[in-house]
Amino acid sequence: MSDVSPTPGFTPRFTAHGLVRGGQRLLPVSVFVFPFGVAFGAAAIESGLTIDQAMVMSLVVFAGASQFAALDLWQSPLPFLSLALVVLAVNARHFILGAAISPYVNGLPPRHWFGSLMLLSDVNFADSYQAMKEGERDAAHILGGGLVLWCVWAIATAVGVFAGTLLGNLERFGVDVVMAAFFAALAVGMVPNFKAALPVIVACAVAVLALPLLPTGWNIIVAALAGGLVGVVFPSESKATP
């Protein structure tokens, strides 16, 4: 991450042109977000959210993994604190993305700074970060990509929500395992070698052992912290880009 030292004297811009460039580059990529949005919409209905609640969640939260994680805790009484902490832990990787892209946004006026970051996600980060390295100096590029992803995410959620409402019990279509399968795949993708798998293995063990001992959701928080600490003690080689 230390390789992102912009040339001295450069000032970031925030223009409509940058917005359009970022959006155009992500149009083809955004297609791959669609199945996840449909899966989320269907799983949300399965978990007892209303159509409105599922749509509002996708529109204002716009972070797929944490939305799936919330469904897991969607029960009455709602465990607010563990929900907040699980969402924080699932989205903690945004901190790394924001820190990496900071040289390209931190010179901006507050309004533009906020605009560049408000829809930051893995996909538009990856694309805009690459573009910035190749000379892009317009921070609206990040927002442009984010807006395309946001539209696709909303439309896909709507499709999933209506499929879920029309088809009734979705267990026969395997919708109930989507979240676990998606998370397992994401976790595998984050683990390039055995050393990087060590925190994950410890976290799994802690999660299972703490499950009967702690209130809903807290075993996950304790396991995430344990995994993070193992990562500090036995760091794996950091990837070139986060």
Binding site: S76, V178, M179, C204, G228
Partner: protein, 102 residues
């Protein structure tokens, strides 16, 4: 056992604020400090750990069908490096299990 509307929207508001905090937080703290390698290691390891912890909790709370479905997802992910194919394969297995074995 259903969540009432007021609680649901309050929960969504909490999720929104926390998520926005993570989006803005990284760039914000970089105005004052740089992320040390230890903090980066912690966040990287925690990102994968929290997902894995949610998965094993889901498996323990459910059963064989769900455990094998997750196994299918992991194998397909290792083979194809595509989370979408992993997701579809696990769904197809779970759907088949429900139709043919229960």
């Amino acid at each position: 056992m259903t969540v009432d509307a007021q609680t649901a929207y309050l929960a969504i508001a909490v999720m929104t604020l926390v998520t926005l905090g993570t989006r803005l937080g990284g760039a914000f703290v970089m105005r004052f400090v740089t992320l040390s390698p230890r903090v980066t290691s912690f966040l990287e390891a925690m990102s994968a750990s929290v997902l894995a912890a949610i998965v094993v909790t889901f498996i323990v709370n459910n059963g064989t069908r769900e455990a094998i479905a997750v196994g299918v997802a992991i194998l397909v992910m290792l083979a194809t490096r595509s989370a979408i194919w992993a997701m579809f394969a696990a769904m197809a297995f779970a759907a088949g299990f429900t139709v043919f074995l229960s």
